[in-house]
Symmetry: D3
Subunit: 159 residues, 6 copies
């Protein structure tokens, strides 16, 4: 399994050396979808989540940005890269709250994990803020949508 | 929206006061599923992930447990409750790596967010360890399976 | 200077042993005042800070609560005590944004530093959110208003 | 309120993208003043705080520098910029302990919040170290004194 | 290797469940020894380290206590237990700086790792403070001296 | 003691300004040795530690790398420098588990403390994973082996 850059020749987990790489603009966009049960959606439609300006989503955005900055503390072999930008937006589509997290930095390695971590923690925060109303909230998809600036760009066509 | 315990009368986000509550044994079980693309599954079947003993899953378990301990640093209004136990197990079923995270503490409030955070960060770590092979790895479901010890127990029937 | 419990007989800084103390309900209330220059107050009066519901104050509340939970990481000899509650409210009085932070826990030692830290970081966050408009924002008073549950209660009469 | 760079078009809190900015030497100087009640000043004048070498101030300096390094973990939309230098000095003037915190980095964005956070946490630490003697210690002024290296330098004339 | 409580039946690392255990007073004493090269000892004998009051040792004490509070963030399967006390003292014996770290808590599990972590980070801090003078500083022994309050007390006779 | 760059003219602890220094490739190699009692060595020789692939060493490697990334949070006057690489390997020689930690970054200051911190926390983690079998585990030597890229390279001949 030589492609696994995080496993060394002795089958031990390991960091990847990026010291020789050139700095480029790295961008990554990740998405997480929170599936809300019908009664929450109904209950809140004309209100805070409906207007998309209230404290549930603001809290999730703040928690997600702060978590993106902590990615290298959470994911063992992630490099600490700083962040030049981390934008999280949340929109509602039917029963789904859709979280988009876009990270950017000028560095030797990418911010894919930062974008995924920011989206995940924003999703967990929405769960936490709403869990008094239902436990049937599911984070149904967390995935990379696009990345650029590294060896190979990635772009996921919308399914 | 009076049911939202994390929003106060002024529509501001807020913590919930648990000082008056009695300590009980609180348990929570969360699950996250990582959907692996076919070529990763095929490539690794007779190897490390196949044997379930190798460093990818061990790394994910360690990262998940360490993140569960940090839950109150990530989720703005979570109480710091400590943890008497946090067990993460990972099994493979077809294309899915299934992460189960069970948390336990004797405290005034539950560990639902701890179990969800532990499962989420273990899933993100699997993604990070395997992403050199494919970016089409999706964390497809993150959800609470069961909780007990609070006002009302919750148990999700397997779908 | 024998009253300085954080200095030992060798003039070294030191933690205070609280292992023998009884757990009681500990509460503390701290206040920080952010003095805003006239043009910020004027500019924003009919808007977000005016309505007291917008993202500046929500962001400050979230940052303050998260910092209160980190108090023992910031103040060298503070005990890690957890928090059963941390409520931050922000009101505007003339040119002042007044931050009140109330912390509560059942523990052997108090949460005075937690309340002061939560108020301080909420004040710093207001500064950060508004500093694009002016650098003449001053955090003019940070102080304890009341505490109870320890050897001696404290209550500051309003000046 | 278009001047608020931390609020986006949807009235949500947001980080500012600095990826396109040039790195320059950024410096910031913040000050916090701790007003000590007369009996503390009297009590300690010929002693440790009097000599300015003892553990109260050394502890505050260490806590302040460590907090300055954590600024981006405390203030939600602060960029993680590292720090090339953080110097904290403390002097006594009458009843006031005056904390000066100077931060420096070569980066795309400034260290104003780092200087303010370092000064604030040093002030909170002085409070903590002395609170066994009195609760009437007030952090009376926390403010930016000067900054340079960004779009516009700032220098506060002494009041 | 059934005695390894941190390895589960599948040979995966795991936390130990302590939820059923009774709280008792737990104490642990660890020691780390920093061996200083002759020229440092000679250079500093009549000075700060000689007087044992100066900033090198004070800084090490503060760093060690703060690290002891972070033990569960550093050691993957350590429980977060809080700390009722953490006392670090440093003495000089010939070429050795001897660091003693004593931790105490009333909890279900012990503070052995907290004491060892506090002593280790105090030792690393002494190294950092003195490394401009020599790189031949060695942390020569880090070990548990005594623990009590658990299933079995431990006491190491001085060798 | 003018050589102590971390002590200022007032005998206060202080950070060193590195803003004017040029970025170079900085490398450091530190080693920590864990002396295991005979019965542990005997017990595990044909097993997990014997095969060097099992969870004790993998856990120690992960904990050590994560701690190296946190060095500036633990050591008061260490600069936050990021890390381009951190490789930890563990080998067994008789009764000794030998931990080598190599760190690399392109920065203005070195990663000596990062390498020492990574090795120390890996050693503490081995202790934690094995302590159910014996408390007579000693971390017998923690020291710098080599560093390069700064004013003066250092290389320790093997003793």
């Amino acid at each position: 399994m030589s492609k696994l850059s995080h496993i060394d020749a002795d089958n031990r987990p390991t960091m990847v050396d990026v010291s020789h790489k050139k700095e480029t603009v790295r961008e990554a966009h990740a998405q997480a979808i929170v599936r809300l049960p019908g009664d929450i959606v109904q209950h809140i439609s004309g209100d805070e989540i409906g207007t998309k300006k209230g404290p549930v989503f603001a809290t999730a955005i703040i928690a997600g940005v702060m978590a993106a900055k902590k990615t290298h503390e959470l994911i063992p072999f992630c490099h600490p890269v700083g962040l030049d930008d981390c934008k999280i937006t949340i929109s509602v589509d039917g029963n789904d709250a859709i979280i988009d997290c876009c990270c950017k930095v000028v560095h030797k390695t990418g911010v894919e994990m930062e974008a995924l971590t920011g989206a995940s923690v924003a999703a967990l925060t929405i769960y936490d803020m709403l869990k008094a109303m239902s436990h049937d909230i599911v984070i149904s998809e967390t995935r990379l949508m696009a990345k650029s600036g590294g060896k190979q760009d990635f772009y996921r066509g919308q399914s």
